[in-house]
């Protein structure tokens, strides 16, 4: 049955995300908050996260590119990024932010630049995965089924 295949595919795609630590329990919490009265809740929050993150990454790139780096400003941006990634369950992004803040404290520009690279990588990875996840969900719903939950 088509629906069963879609659901199987969804589970096969989603469970590794948790095993590999790309997403954590907080993402599951978000899913639990979604219901018939708020059927797009997760999508809405994650979209906000994408918009916010891309702004922050641009800001970070700009700030770290200055002659004299304002580490306080960098730290403030990373702090914000850390908060938002934690709120949606993007665990690996959050972890990079934590390391990033240490480099800010030490005013280590090299370290910060390396972290920024890592941050971009992890961010685009989770963005990619989530976009695929939402597509798979849409397919299941279009086929008349319900999204299998792992909790």
């Amino acid at each position: 049955m088509e629906l069963a295949n879609l659901q199987r595919r969804y589970l096969d795609f989603t469970s590794p995300l948790f095993h590999e630590g790309i997403l954590d329990n907080q993402f599951t919490q978000l899913q639990q908050l979604q219901d018939e009265s708020n059927p797009e809740f997760v999508l809405e929050v994650v979209t906000l996260f994408f918009d916010d993150s891309e702004k922050l990454l641009n800001e970070l790139t700009r700030t770290l590119d200055q002659q004299v780096v304002d580490f306080k400003k960098v730290d403030a941006h990373v702090h914000q990024f850390k908060g938002s990634s934690a709120s949606i369950g993007a665990q690996r992004v959050k972890n990079v932010c934590m390391a990033f803040r240490n480099y800010c404290e030490e005013m280590d520009q090299e370290g910060c630049l390396t972290c920024l690279q890592q941050l971009k990588q992890e961010y685009f990875l989770v963005k990619n995965k989530l976009e695929t996840l939402f597509k798979l969900e849409q397919q299941i719903v279009a086929a008349g089924g319900s999204i299998p939950m792992m909790w």
């Binding site: 919490q29 908050l33 219901d35 009265s37 929050v45 916010d52 702090h79 938002s84 709120s87």
Partner: protein, 319 residues
Amino acid sequence: MKLPCGVGEDTAKATRALKIQAKDDVTESCERIGWSTTSPCLSSFVHILKQLSGGDELMVVWLSWSGGTSERRWLINKTRDQKEVMKGLAWYPIQRLSEDLEAKSDGSFRIWFHCWMLTKKTREAEFHVLAVDDSLIDRKLIERLLRTSSYQVTTVDSGSKALELLGLGEEPGLSSPASPDKNEIEVNLIITDYCMPGMTGYDLLKRIKGSSSLKGIPVVIMSSENVPSRINRCLEGGAEEFFLKPIQLSDMTRLRPYMQKGKVKEQQQSQQQQQQLQEKNITSGSSNSNSNKRKAMEDGGIFPEKTRPRLSSSSLASV
């Protein structure tokens, strides 16, 4: 209300038996229903509930089921005690109920339901929470968490906006509890982020606790950082509790007791104020200066020695 145990799908019978009345008063609209059915009846059970609810979203707050053995297994909330239920144990949406029960049952045994049901609309108006956070994502999250827990929510993005909503001016000391035309909202709890630009959550806490009209409102602080000195500072500053972010649904249940306590305090405070007004009339001829009296009013009932014996012990309770 004892219902016939139904084996099979007599929905008409079950419909007559399940009577749900939507009433304004929360306690009264809580109906206890017992029903036994085999799992194929599950979808009709849910269907009936939906029909009877008149389209409103029903929340089943207590449920147990038993498998092939006579052992009862608890699906949600381990108590049938109405008072406990009303304390705001986790709400269980009807949609999830049917999915979970279908997943658990295999058709070979009976499912026995004891349900308390409340129409969601009734519960919603009970408490109003003001959430303060500069992060848009976190505001969206906390709003959803609070709404799911059946609270009314208002979100703002800064401490100063919060104070504005609550009716406090920019400068401390400008509030006048006796002003007749204040149109600020009534709030039963304030939940605020700690790290915010401008006014921090701690600053907001101090302003609220420093205001005679607002100090009775319970305040909860949230932070993404686990800093013990920060936590202690907030608790000492009068915060009820300190939540670590990200906030979860289970954290919401911890809020209700503060709001209930707050409502009781509010009643006490207004009783106090009435008493103060009476006392003021009686002692208006005293030799104490006006400024002392004003301060006494602000402090909530600490009167000069002369009048103290007249006050009951409850109004001398310190905040």
